[in-house]
Symmetry: C2
Subunit: 330 residues, 2 copies
């Protein structure tokens, strides 16, 4: 376990997730056994559905992924991925170092058949419904074929997990015209346009994310990461500013009422509310939780792994990519 | 004139800007003379400080910049830039097609000595003070040297116009570590680190924009455009959602008070409030106003051109770039 609040958040999240489990389901907590037991102490019945797998090392949040994997073979992160690779667990969840998790999963679980690069998808809640943004940081140097495959994979996720049938795919650019954007975006645009099976609505701009223009928004991992963290930072900054204005400008009763409304919006945009982000394209089920996840975030991560496995997301991705043999190699 | 509300917004903005002008200042309105006169009719005294320069054609918002320049030599946009190139005006403001304005200005006004690529800078207001983001769309395919020069140019703007002495420069990436990001970002990082005259604070993440981490945030034009439009879209979406929650959850009196506080924040983030974006690096003073600018936005654009000229922003940029002959070519 390597989240900011590890192991308390992870352990409490696992306890809270009990209600989501089927009778045969087990949660394996991978990390420092002593610390995990300290949180579990005095809790009743955890032995019925929780197992502990000790790991002596821990990957820090700021460690270089490649170094961390090489230098810490006994980290909780590597042990987690190894358990999944060995078939001892059906899915894994981490709130730790995202880069290290992506690297370990890609190396040990390998890519799904036909996939060039795994991508991280995130569900952004909006007034017009959820939008899946992919990639948000697995792959900062994309080729057109990667963006094409992200569209296929994120569409499967939108359909199977978010329940959006025939999701509209938008390609993030700096203008809606086909000719706008970098060479990467223009070439990816051509690939997407050529595939009749995808519901490609063309280029979209970042402001369209909140205007219901598409259900899936595709971009390279650098741009997606900027988008994700900007939403986080701006949400925080804007809401704090509004609350400050409220306190300054109106009386206590009205301020209380207004704060309630603002916090309701804040709650909706809290990453703990919609759980973690799937790493799409690897040969397994990997859910990335926010480093600052609390027990609620971890519990929602468990919910997502269940849904991901239950709805055979990976099988469907392999099926769709195999169907389309025409697309050039990335 | 080619803004969404042309020519009414531009003409009314010019009228409102009278209070900003020195006795010898004149505003030249470039566009369809008949339509401009229709707005000016019944206004007193406009002849004292406003001139009209007729232009028969108009570049549409969605026209390809290159095509528009070629096919419409008599557009108001080209006429505006030609007047500036001929030295008949000291600065130009446009709320029309940004790409066409940038292309026309770059071709006709040329680049400042030593500048490889012009960049658009935007002032983002935050709780911690204004942050200058550059480039936000002039140049979607950057080289490291372009990002380095944006840092120099945006710092001059921050110092001279925004009044931030010794501005802290952050390079937008996907993590704070030096090694994070694309090859472009890593190479630009090295260039910035090597220049002792700049106050380079290293990589920053997009969420840091609202956390007071830097005064100047540098990125390529694709990423910057995504950032700018996301702020716009999210501000709009989030504030609408909060107002909706307020209406649903509290009584009318409290709702009114809360709305007031929310609208105060909205007002601050309104692009009309802080005026237009300078195109840095061209041999002239070019202020780009938002297409949806109202008279207030145009008036603030006029204020900016005055400050830009008064504080010799271009001279200082040339001076700083000449100082640093060591930097490699882009």
């Amino acid at each position: 376990m390597g989240g900011d609040r590890a192991p308390a958040a992870e352990v409490k999240g696992a306890l809270a997730a009990r209600s989501l489990l089927d009778p045969d389901d087990r949660i394996v907590l991978v990390g420092d056994e002593k610390k995990i037991r300290a949180v579990l102490e005095f809790r009743n019945g955890w032995q019925d559905f929780i197992e502990i797998h000790h790991a002596a090392q821990r990957v820090g949040m700021d460690e270089s992924p490649v170094d961390a994997i090489r230098a810490k073979p006994d980290s909780s992160l590597m042990a987690l991925v190894e358990l999944h690779a060995a078939g001892e667990i059906d899915a894994c969840i981490s709130a730790g170092n995202t880069g290290a998790f992506v690297a370990a999963a890609t190396v040990r679980l390998r890519r799904l058949r036909g996939v060039h690069r795994p991508g991280i998808a995130v569900v952004v809640p909006t007034l017009h419904g959820p939008v899946i943004v992919c990639d948000v940081g697995a792959n900062v140097s994309c080729r057109p074929q990667h963006l094409y495959q992200y569209s296929v994979m994120a569409s499967v996720y939108a359909e199977r997990i978010t329940g959006i049938s025939n999701p509209r795919i938008g390609l993030l650019s700096v203008g809606q015209e086909d000719t706008k954007g970098t060479i990467l975006v223009r070439d990816a645009h051509a690939l997407l346009k050529a595939d009749d099976m995808l519901y490609f609505v063309g280029n979209v701009e970042s402001r369209d994310l909140f205007r219901g223009a598409c259900d899936v928004m595709i971009c390279d991992g650098f741009v997606g990461n900027v988008v994700l963290k900007l939403i986080e930072g701006m949400g925080e900054g804007l809401l704090r500013e509004i609350l400050q204005n409220v306190r300054l400008s109106v009386g206590p009763a009205a301020a209380h009422a207004a704060q309630k409304a603002v916090l309701e919006t804040k709650h909706k945009y809290d990453s703990n509310e919609y759980g973690g982000a799937p790493l799409l394209g690897v040969g397994g089920t990997c859910i990335i939780c926010h480093g600052a996840s609390d027990a609620r975030g971890i519990k929602n991560g468990v919910r997502q792994t269940k849904a991901f496995v239950h709805h055979h997301v990976n099988d469907r991705i392999i099926e769709l990519l195999a169907r389309n043999q025409r697309t050039p190699n990335g």
